[in-house]
Structure formats: structure tokens, C-alpha cells
Amino acid sequence: MTALGKLLRTTAFKLALAYLVVFATLSVVVLIYVSWHANALIAGQLNATVNAEITGLAEQYRQGGIRRLVAIVEERSNRSGGSIYLVTTMTGEVLAGNVSGLPDASLAEAGERELPYQRAGETAAAPYPAVVRVFVLPGGYRLLVGRDTEERERLSAVISNAVQWSLALVVVLGLAGGVFVAKRVLGRIDAMTETARTIMAGDLSGRLAVTGSDDEFDRLAQATNAMLDRINELMAGLKEVSDNIAHDLKTPLTRLRNRAETALRTASDEDEWQASVEQIIADADAMLGIFNALLLIARAESGGGRDQLVPVDLADIAESVAELYEPLAEERGARLTVNAPTPIRLLGSRELIGQAVANLIENALNYAAAAGGEVAVSATTDEDGARLVVADRGPGVPEADRARALERFVRLDSSRSRPGSGLGLALVAAVARLHGGTLTLEDNAPGLRAVLALPLTPAALPEPSTPALAPPRGARAV
């Protein structure tokens, strides 16, 4: 596209062109209106003058006949002015008057007409225009009275000139204005496009220029810049996560590979092969578990399934999951208690909240059960909403690490020796966010208190669809 073509194609220019057409039409209409009225006015004046002359001459003719008329015409013809006169005989012989060079037969009949004429004695000059009246007098005499209309013609010419000039001016100014505006707009748009291109090419740090004029372009630039900031943020987050994932999946993958290699090198009989392959499958399953957890976190994080939330009973979830883990807790030498006295209805996913509670209990059993303590699960409500708390009496998490522990793949140094992938709390936090809630780690003095705070949904909710458990609820060891 040529630069001109680009310019002509801009919205600004098209708009200018449209305005131009409107204004040109308008000015032409105004001038035509004015000239029409001016013409009418002048024509009226001409008529009035001629009529007055005729009335005067008719009076003279009535009093003194043709002779008197000729004398008067003779006299008036010598006056200067725009009036023209002529008196002839029937055969066309001029008796008096100040006109010559009339077209043939222009006196043949009575009536009003427009004619070109010449002043008597000025034969060389070009004829002037006039409007005349011809009378046929008794005896075949002809009387012509008229008035030069050159003035009128001149006015017409002036007006038509004005029309042309103003039209030309409107067009020229309009085009120039259009080009100017379009050029300005195009300049800024081009600058924006250029910046956008470099950003797209990979330089995400580029920003659109903001001139400070606070016009629409500035606002557009500001909004776009804000969007770029957000994209940058997300990209950074994404990069960090994918770096972490790549790094953290390397460990189990390396382990799996080593195991396969060892089996290949050293396994000598059927049993050893079998054991190795089973181990390898277990390793693969662990990796699949990591992927599943990551997918689940990603899905919850992106708000996927938020429209699938249904009325659930948080107390029931807490109880059923605690009940699921109770034998395991006992085996590990811990006492698992539940306090979920009343049903707590909220919009949620039983599956995801259940998984979250399971993760919290598993952590308590993994990191705190060795201390032989008690793991207390409770589900209660207060004015802020529902709270699901899993509290243990283990070593807890130092304050400085509490926020960090919620991130993906973060495992504190003290627990590296235990199995786990560092995704448990990240998943709980993602589930909390999906439900519009939060996960916070608190000091249980001693131990850890993981608090999953979920907003309660508005009162009038239908009964939860999950089947209630048979045993009665209450503070008790399950």
C-alpha cells in the first residue's frame, strides 16, 4: 500500500471527506438561494421602473399625440441612465430614441421581451442586454421602453463566481484538513502498530507511548500497557511454573531410568526382574500422580468447573474424609478427631474439597504423627463463612516458610526425606481459590493449623445431594 493510499484509507480521512461533501452541498444551496432571491428582487425593480416610464409616456401621448411623445422620448433619451427608448413609424423609421442595432422584427409585435441592444452611436461596442416592452400605437407607430439589465447579469456573475470560489475553498480546505487530521491519527496509530509489532516479536518490555494529552489515544495506550503488564506477569508466572515442573519431573524420571538400567544390568532371575518392573511401574504411577495433581491445580486455578459447583455439606465431607484416614492415623500412632457438629451447606465440589481435606490430613499424618499427637479436624461456621481446620501437634511450619509452602513443588528442608512431591498444599490452595476462599497456615503452638476458609453461599440453597452418613455427628473420635 502506498503512503497516500494508506492515508486516504484512514477513518479520519473518510470522515473528513464526508464532512466536506456535506459542507460543500450546504454552501452551494445557500448561495443558490441567495442568488435566486436577488434575481427576483432585481427583476421586480426593473419591472417597476419600466412601468413608471410607461405610465409617464402614456400620459404625454394622451395629451399631445405622437408629436409630444417623440419630443419627450427625444428629451429622455439624452439623459444618462439605464433606460432605453425608441419610437418608430410603421415602416421602422426611427423618430426618436437612444437605441440602435436591435434584432430584426423585435418591434413587430407588442409585448415584453429580453433583447440585446446597442446605444445609438456606439455601433462598435458589444450589445448590452435589456428587458423591453413594445407598444403598437394607433397609426402603426411603435414605442419601445426598456431597461438595461447589465446590472442584473453582473450580480449573477458575481454570485456564480462566489459559488465557484467558495466551493473550491471548501474542497481545498476540507481536503487539506482531512489529510492533516488523518496524517496525525495515522502517525499515532503507526507508532502504536510499530510498538505492538516489536512487542509481538518478543520484546515484552516495550510499551506504547503515552503523550499525556489524556485523549482517546492516550487512554487506549494506557489500557494496552496495563494489559501488557498483566500478560508479562502471567508469562513470568508460567515460566517459573514450567521451569519448576521440568526440573521437578527430572528427579523421578531419573530415578525411573536408573532403576530400569540397574534391572537391565543386575537382574538375574525372574523374581528380580519382576520386582524391578513393579518398581518401575510404581515410579511411573508416581509421575502420573504428579501430572494429575498439576492438571488439577491448573484447572482449579483457571476457575475451570466453577459453574459445576453444587450444594455440598462441608461437615459431611470433613467427617467422611477423616473417617477414611482414621485407621491409618491409628496405625501411625496418632489420634484423629473430628468436630463437625452441624451441617454446613455451601456451593462447592465434594470431590475437590474432599481431596483438599485428604491432603491436609495426609500432611498432618506424614509430618506430625511421629510426634504421637492428636490430629484435630473441625468444620465450623462463623460470620466470615465456613472454616475447615486441620490441626496437629507436630513441628509446624516456621512463619517465614508458611506462604512459600503453599507454592507448587515447595517442600521444606526438614521433610525432604519423606515421600511427597510438594503439590499437596498447592492443590488445597487452588481448591480454596476456586471456591472463593483461602488457605492459611497458622501456628498451633505447637504444631500446624491449616485453615481452609470458604465463603458460605446465600442461605436459600436446596438440600445437598450427597447422601448423609449414617452415624450421628458430633465431637468424637471416629
Binding site: 500422580g289 494429575n292 468447573g305 474424609v321 491409618l328 470431590e351 475437590l352 474432599g354 481431596q355 485428604a358
Partner: protein
Amino acid sequence: MTSSMKLLIVEDDREAAAYMVKALSEAGHVADHAADGAEGYEFATSGSYDVLVVDRMLPKLDGLSLIGRLRAEGATTPVLILSALGHVDDRVQGLRAGGDDYLTKPYAFAELLARVETLARRGQASAGDTVYRVADLEIDRLSHTCSRAGQEIVLQPREFRLLEYLMRNAGQVVTRTMLLENVWDYHFDPQTNVIDVHVSRLRSKIDKGFDKPLLHTVRGAGYLIRDGAR
């Protein structure tokens, strides 16, 4: 164990399908393979199968539509949906479309086999009976009582449901995930062996002190309750 079943596998991944057909035949079953939804529909309507295993994403006719069409025509053959989509609502969608069970890829073959066999037996299962019996072990589903050799055994409500599920599928391997799904109604996979602890508790109640164990662990697969004599 279970008598031989005839299965239809509707799966567009030929390698996966071939593996499944082979593994199923090793387990004593016969499996046909259809490579797309349209072919699957043809096979399903012309042959009589005990269970259909249907992949969700299929060329020509997707899995859920295939199931919907079969169900609309009154077919009651149990269907196991196989899918790479494993999120909660994907499962709900699948079951709503008329699937009877849902298994996420990748799966352990033992899991697939156990589920397929359970589905195939669903028709004959004694879901309506009030009393389940395996050898001298007996539960009454109305009075929620359990006894072995005439001796009453006291079970917690959850232990009762666990035993009830195992006995409904007596002679059938059930996996840990099947137990978690059917007894606890959760579909996530716990990091630890929670189910094992529940089962061993149950086992200590029903098998301890009797010379013939009824509740067996099947290595690499799950659990099985059966009269060892058979």
C-alpha cells in the same frame, strides 16, 4: 473365577486397542475392536456383548454420542467409558450420558479388567437380595448384621458397607479405587494406602480365628472375597 466374557472395545488408538484385546484374551475373555464411533455403533447393534469399553474421543461419532444413541434405542449393555479427560465434571458428564463406569487414561490393566468384570456381572449380581452369603460368612442388609459360622461379628457402618460391596462382587477382584468410589463416594487417589488399612481391619474381624480365609489380596490388583474351596 468369572466365566468368559465377550467385549467390544471402541478405541481409535490401534496400539492401545491391540494391547487391550491381547491382555483381555490372556485373562480369558474375547474382545472385538472397532476403530471409530460409527463402526462401534455397527458392532454394538449387531453383536451381543457383555460389556462395551468406549473411548471418549473417537472419530466419526464421539464416545458419548455413541452411548447416547445406544441407550436411546433401549440397549442396556453396560458401558465403561475410557478417557484421557479425568476431571470431576468430565466423569459426571460421562455417567450422565449413559456410561456405567468411567476410567481415566492411563490406567492399570488390572483396574480395567476388574471394572469390566464387575460390570459384566452386574446383571446377575444379587443387588436386590437382603442376605449375601460367601461360604459361612453372611450379612443381612436390612438388619445390618454380620455373622460367620453362626457367630455374630460387630461391624462399624463403614466396615459394613465395605464388606457389603465386596460380597456383592464376591468372586470378583475389586480395586482400591473401586472401593474408594463405591464405599466412600470419592474419586481422588489418596497418596497413601488408606484403603489397605480399612481392608485389613475388616479382615481381622471376619477372617481372624477362622481357618479358611475369605478376604484375599490380589497382588497388583486389589481385593477379592470368595469361598476358597471353589
